[in-house]
Amino acid sequence: MKLLAMIGRTCLGAAETVGGITIVFARILRAMFPPRFDRDETWLNLYKVGVKSYPIVIMTAMFTGAIMVIQSGQYVKQTGATGLLGWGAGYAVLAEIGPVLIGLMFSGRVGANNTAELGTMKVTEQLDALRALAIDPINHLVVPRFLSMMVMLLLLTALGDLFALIGGALTSELILEVDYRVFFHGVFEGHLLDEYFTGLCKAASFGASISVISCFYGLNVSGGATGVGRAVNQCVVTSAIGIFVWDYLITYLAN
């Protein structure tokens, strides 16, 4: 009986979360058509989300590309198929590893920060103050964050892809002694444009998903500082689940 009750509670909790996230997403869409969001706040968020994230994205991406090359290096050396090094690393990075790792990094840095920010505003009544001043928090706070995260994760992933390939090329040159031109020849001859665009499509959907999830948890914080901490934790976990669900769906559709 206890087990049944626990299963019931879990299912109700999950349904409540999914329902809440869907409602936040619907309200975002409603505020965008016709556009009623705050443009200044959008520019500010583009800066906060994008410009301040690029150093960590570049570093993550370069190491990712390098690791891909090191992982495949021993097989390349055994078989002498150096021409496949660029293709293999490029395929993995552009289609899968790049968007997913950058997405996870982004959710930890930007999504968690967003939940904490909105959550703190909620517990200090700043969201109520906005509403009392006739300003809709969805138009003023949520939509700018949604747009910024979606656009910036896409651009950061495009940038990260580039640096992942540079990291891979440097590693192949310095550690495996495979000329970087051979590496890039493998990338360009591998016809990876589809993978590249699939990866960008994933990045945009991850950005949208992280923003909606982080805003949902931020707007629904209760219980002061403890509540904010709990919401940040839930945001990071749910965003990671969201990333893998979207990754699965888009990979399935693209293949």
């Binding site: 705050d38 200090t124 009544e125 700043q126 509403r131 001043l133």
Partner: protein, 274 residues
């Protein structure tokens, strides 16, 4: 009836207890609440509360802590939705309004929060300017002039560039008051504007409440436990007790009441008068 010569004759922190407000006669009904009921889970916070206020009136909402005074104010501002009852404010049925109409109504209503609720990522000047800037109906020069005027009214003319965390509690309350006043609201709710403040600053805040009311003939609902300092400000009081309105009337009515709770509450609130 003694008339105060000038607003500036009241020194900082001193209550002008002899002054009787020289107000315009009370106007039409601007707030009408009937049967307001609100639950938080299994707890009934408000149970069939009724209240009527006229234009230009200042009502003190008093009651023990946790009785639902702030909830009542949030319901009247449309920040919470009641489980039952009706709220008519400034001629509008609040619960029947759509989002756009409710936003429009909120530009005519001000709210000063108990915990300031200043936007901590903006300077004081931007906080006060924010509602006006968002409406987009005034130039930056007009906004700057009005912000300066509102901050001067609350005796804070030189703090525009500071961040809220650089201000004391009393200063934050005054900035909150300036922000709530920026759009010249017809109705202002003060949610415990003197909570946690020293007696001098409390008196200063109540003087500001009075000055605001006099200048714009706005209708004010003031929540406070400090009945003694509310006396020069309020026309009458409403005592919320056990989720219901226990008493409505003037201080004299309260003192003449046979209800021991009303008596006890008002006496306790006036301990400091002597």
């Amino acid at each position: 009836m003694k008339r105060r010569e000038s607003q500036e004759t009241v020194p900082y922190g001193e209550i002008d207890t002899t002054a009787i407000l020289d107000r315009k006669p009370l106007g039409d009904v601007v707030l009408e609440v009937h049967g307001l009921t609100h639950w938080f889970g299994d707890v009934c916070v408000l149970d069939g509360v009724d209240l009527t206020m006229r234009e230009g009136e200042v009502v003190g909402l008093i009651g023990p802590g946790g009785v639902g005074k702030s909830v009542f104010v949030k319901l009247c501002c449309g920040l919470l939705v009641p489980d039952a009852g009706e709220i008519h404010i400034l001629g509008k049925d609040l619960l029947a309004l759509d989002d756009k109409e409710r936003q429009e109504l909120r530009t005519r209503v001000g709210l000063v929060f108990q915990n300031y609720a200043l936007f901590d990522f903006m300077t004081v000047g931007d906080n006060v300017a924010f509602p006006m800037r968002q409406r987009g109906q005034a130039s930056e020069a007009e906004i700057a002039a009005k912000v300066q005027e509102r901050l001067s009214e609350v005796d804070l003319p030189k703090v525009q560039h500071l961040m809220p965390n650089e201000l004391s509690g009393g200063m934050k309350k005054r900035v909150g008051l300036a922000r709530a006043n920026i759009n010249d609201p017809e109705f202002i709710f003060f949610d415990d504007p003197t909570a946690g403040l020293d007696p001098v600053t409390s008196s200063k805040i109540f003087n500001l409440v009075r000055r605001t009311q006099e200048q714009r003939n706005s209708t004010c609902l003031v929540i406070s436990h400090d009945i003694d300092r509310m006396r020069p400000v309020c026309d009458r009081y409403v005592l919320l007790y056990d989720a219901r309105v226990r008493f409505q009337g003037t201080e004299q009515d309260a003192m003449a009441s046979s209800d021991p709770i009303v008596h006890e509450f008002f006496r306790a609130g006036m301990v400091g008068r002597a």
